[in-house]
Symmetry: C2
Subunit: 440 residues, 2 copies
């Protein structure tokens, strides 16, 4: 089964909008085991759209057209599809009634050209989006050189497109391909090991998976988001596919341990908040451990990322962004002296905890570049964690981490390294918090 994607819109060719829809659809097709060999962008031009759709039909079994379904005159995807099918457009009465109801329920008069959205090519089926007022998708069967093929149309708005592709188009493609199985996919997110290092640790599992072919395991190195491992299984129904994934997830987690920090869209900050809540529970406090930050080179990025997690306010107290050295001395009570150092990081962590009234203090200081500072090159970063009274007499722990990249990358890696170090500490992990092998 081969399916192409055609993205429609002159604004895509002019670079006014980046076509992320095709990439997303390509990923879903890959997960579902459907080959996708070409993706094309074409402008809002009837002849070129028809030529592009006909070429796609000549080399694939199915084509997904994305965009050009709106109510304005330059939205001509349906007309182009009807031309390829050799049919006319007709009004779908139920769709028309839905659209009229949407306007009247808001007390508005419907502009007549909105009825264009209720027209479908003869022989096509509208996919009704659960959201009223959005453009419906289309399933358009077509006979091409004696073969039964299919054209799909979805709106260009990513959220609407994604709903229709997952709910209707991928299942329809699977049915047509004679594949009655259901796909389930889960991503394990890791931090602290390279792609080749993970492959080495998982060599045994990879051999087993290569043998069975179900589930499958794919890597996706995504820089500051760590390395993602995607497990995908096919089953007779969703429950059995999910069970296969869950079983393999247990095997992989048993090998990787705390290298795995989250699942699917979970960020490392979200995982830290979860561990702070769990630690408060474990200590019998009846509340989460609270977190205070002190930031230098990151300028507030660490706080911003923590605050970005919905519901962070039960844990997150705040952050002292001490960009100027004098602010470190005055507000955080850091002893005067070099500020790119283990000692300064430790004092900042203690200061953050005390000034912000938090249980846990985390601090970062270092050189984002491009210029060096206090004789240290860009990428010299120190991280410290202070648990205050919770650590007994131990006091703050600090470590050096040498980072690489441009100014933004160094700041991003600093945030993730610090958050991961705190996560490991809360888990009681013995793992070195510096994934690059620190000398500090």
């Amino acid at each position: 089964m081969r399916c192409e994607v055609v993205a429609i819109g002159t604004e895509l060719l002019l670079g006014q909008i980046v076509d992320t829809n095709s990439s997303w659809i390509g990923e879903q097709l890959a997960i579902a085991g459907i080959d996708s060999l070409f993706q094309t962008k074409v402008g809002d031009n009837m002849d070129r759209m028809v030529a592009t759709l006909e070429l796609a039909l000549s080399r694939s079994d199915a084509v997904i057209c994305c965009g050009g379904l709106g109510p304005t005159q330059d939205d001509i995807t349906k007309e182009a599809i009807a031309k390829v099918m050799g049919v006319d457009l007709e009004l779908d009465d139920e769709l028309a009634a839905r659209i009229e109801l949407m306007f009247s329920s808001r007390g508005r008069r419907m502009p007549m050209n909105n009825l264009r959205q209720a027209e479908v090519p003869v022989g096509a089926t509208a996919i009704r989006d659960p959201q009223p007022g959005t453009a419906p998708g289309l399933i358009c069967p077509v006979t091409w050189n004696g073969e039964e093929k299919v054209l799909y149309a979805v709106p260009g708005v990513p959220r609407e497109m994604q709903e229709l592709v997952l709910a209707a188009i991928v299942p329809d493609l699977q049915r047509r391909s004679g594949d009655v199985s259901t796909i389930f996919s889960r991503t394990l997110r890791t931090w602290g090991e390279s792609e080749s290092g993970l492959a080495e640790r998982l060599a045994g599992r990879i051999a087993v998976l290569d043998g069975s072919g179900n589930p499958t395991l794919a890597y996706n190195a995504s820089g500051i988001e760590g390395i993602k491992l995607r497990l995908t299984a096919k089953g007779a129904d969703e429950a059995s596919a999910e069970a296969l994934v869950a079983e393999e997830e247990r095997e992989i987690r048993a090998i990787l341990g705390d290298l795995v920090f989250g699942v699917d869209d979970e960020t490392i900050e979200a995982s830290v908040l979860k561990e702070l809540r769990a630690a408060g529970e474990r200590l019998g406090l009846g509340r989460p451990l609270t977190l205070g930050l002190a930031e230098s080179l990151t300028g507030g990025m660490m706080g911003s990322r923590v605050a970005d997690v919905p519901g962070a306010s039960d844990v997150f107290r705040g952050s002292i962004v001490s960009y100027a050295s004098q602010v470190k001395f005055d507000v955080l009570d850091v002893p005067e002296g070099p500020v790119v150092s283990l000692e300064a990081a430790s004092a900042m962590a203690v200061g953050a905890r005390e000034v912000l009234g938090a249980d846990v203090g985390v601090a970062v200081t270092g050189v984002a570049g491009p210029d060096e500072q206090e004789g240290h090159p860009a990428g010299t970063v120190f991280v410290a964690i202070d648990l205050g009274p919770l650590s007994g007499e131990a006091g703050p722990e600090a470590f050096h981490v040498p980072l690489f990249g441009d100014r933004l990358q160094i700041r991003q890696f600093t945030v993730i390294t610090a958050m991961n170090a705190l996560r490991l500490k809360l888990l009681g992990s013995a793992r070195d918090p510096d994934p690059f092998g620190s000398d500090g």
Copy 2:
């Protein structure tokens, strides 16, 4: 002159990487007045690459191939181009020497397959990147159905691709199209007026420009980056094109005044830092005015964006991220009471200035959502600016701004609204700092 873009790489079809290169190239072609009617993505497969290049040549005068130039076995763009040209590959001795030198100068032995990067199709010209060690681009003239056409190849790494397209490919395309003119383009960045509002203000200029056709003016609404106005002129040489743009820029600035905050890649934070330096100069301080922030709902995002401007350290002291109310009371000396209020914002601005030892304090407090707080819905935001002794007896100024969108958008608009309010204050502007028409 028609030029297509072909992006090469199986990872693009699988959605592992979003193809931003084609969009960027499409934009450059549009600026240069070259039509681009199709963009195609194809995997690392010889037959499909050759078919795609041949189709592109059949309907366009030029084709830019992006990606597949690396040293590994699945990088076969050059082989595919040679096949389309009907020629062999040959070693370019100068390129080979450059690559060997790059390895030897780092004391490393060159793996033999790196020499593949020095091969070019017979009859093609290598475009030498000024950076040693990167893959060269290619200009490959080809006769197609009796017409002289051209294939270009560039690496998929965005920075390398962009250099080669701007320095060699766009000028080569213009020369081939018989267009001896040079293009110059400048973007004016605005904040505080809608797209239709700008169009209304500029109606007179737009009529003049539509009449002359040179320079041209294009809008680009980019959400949190404000609305961009791109001026593009053609001239006999760069100086005359730039002069045309500069002349029109003066006309537009005379109409828009302080709605324009920056040029090209300049952010609103960078513009604020510039104005703080200018104000220090104006006041005869011999140093910039320094800036201290207090943030609640933004969690550190405002500080992070300010610190992201290279060289911010002469101005930026730091930020007190007082996410918890108690931190506002304890660290910033905000009077106990409602924290989503004009009064709390004012006290936070004064506190930030005093605690951080800055000349200017800026504070934001409000509700990012999704839940309401103190009875205020998500999007209720208060901004305050305090100039301390510099304002005489005036004290802090605060205003309410109602914002819309999701949690992230509300936080981003909060940062920009606050930075823009400070910019307007430093400019002595009488403009309302709330672009949406505040009631506060």
